[in-house]
C-alpha cells in the first residue's frame, strides 16, 4: 500500500475507500469483544418484531472503527492520528454493503497537519456515519532531507 507524501496531498485528495459487508459472525465477535449484549445485534426476531428494525443492527462504534481504519491505512507508518470524530446518523443492517472513505479538507505543509472529512456510505449513497480526522504527517522539510 502506498502511503501519502505530504507534498502530494491537497485539499480534495481522496482517501482509498473500502467496502464493508459484515456478517453476523463478525457482528457477534465485535459485540462479544465489547461485552455488549444488546439484542438488536444478534436476536433477529427481537430486532424485527419487538424493535421494528428491518434486520440485525450493525453496531454504531464498529462503523466508527471503519473510519479509523480508512485513515490509518492511508497514512501507514508516516504519521499518526491526532483526532477522530464521528456521529452515527442512520442505522445499517446485516446484509447491507457499506463503503468507508474520506477526502482531505485542509493541509498545513509546515506542521504536517492534515484534516479529512470521512464517510460511511450505504447503497443509496447516504452518509450514515459522517466523521472528521486530524492526522500529523512528516513535514515537507523532514521528507526532503530524508529522501535526498
Amino acid at each position: 500500500m502506498s502511503t501519502p507524501r505530504l507534498a502530494d496531498i491537497e485539499v480534495g485528495s481522496e482517501l482509498p475507500d473500502r467496502e464493508h459487508c459484515p456478517d453476523n459472525i463478525q457482528l457477534f465477535f465485535y459485540n462479544a469483544a465489547l461485552w455488549n449484549a444488546h439484542r438488536i445485534h444478534f436476536d433477529a426476531p427481537y430486532a424485527t418484531e419487538v424493535e421494528g428494525y428491518p434486520g440485525l443492527v450493525i453496531a454504531g462504534p464498529l462503523m466508527g472503527d471503519w473510519l479509523s481504519q480508512c485513515v490509518q491505512e492511508w497514512i501507514g507508518d508516516d504519521g499518526h492520528l491526532a483526532k477522530l470524530s464521528y456521529s452515527n446518523r442512520q442505522a445499517a443492517y446485516i446484509g447491507e454493503t457499506l463503503r468507508a472513505g474520506g477526502k482531505v479538507t485542509a493541509v498545513d505543509p509546515n506542521s504536517g497537519r492534515v484534516e479529512v472529512a470521512l464517510h460511511v456510505h450505504n447503497a443509496e449513497g447516504e452518509n450514515i456515519t459522517p466523521g472528521t480526522a486530524v492526522v500529523m504527517l512528516e513535514p515537507a522539510s523532514t521528507q526532503y532531507s530524508k529522501g535526498h
Binding site: W35, Q69, Q72
Partner: protein, 151 residues
Amino acid sequence: MTALLTPELKACIGRQAPPRTEVVTRRDIRKYAISTGTRIRKHLDGDEAPPLYHVALFWDVVELDQLTPDGVSVDTLLPQLPLERAMAGGLEITYHRPIVPGDVLVARRTLTDLYEKSGRSGPLIFYEITLDVRTEEGTPVLEEVTTRILR
C-alpha cells in the same frame, strides 16, 4: 418555555463514575482488531491497539442480572432525565499516545455538560460525557467527549 432541567439535575454536572483500571493484553487487542475487519497487521497481531480499542476496554463488564430484558445495562452516571428518546449524537477523540500490550490504564468518566434547547419539534436535552484515559502514572493516553441528544 418552562425549564426541563431542574437545579437538582443541573447540579449533576461534574458527577464522576469511580475510576476504572484495566490491563491491556495482546489477546484482547487481537480479538477486538479481528472483529472490526481491519487489515492493519500491527493491530491484527496485537502489537498496538486500534484507535477505538478503548471502547471495548472500558465497556462496562456487567453481570447477567444487571442487564435489562433487551440486553443493555443502565448508565448510572446519568440522572433520570425528563426526555428519553435518544437522537443522533457524536463523539470526538483526542489521541496522545498509542495503547500497547502491558499498559495499565485508568479511565475516568465525567458528566461534563447537561443543557436544553428548544428544537423545531419541541425541547431537546443535550448531555456530554468525557472519558479521560491515562496510564497509572498519569500520562495522558486519550480523551473522548461524547455528546448525546434526547427528545
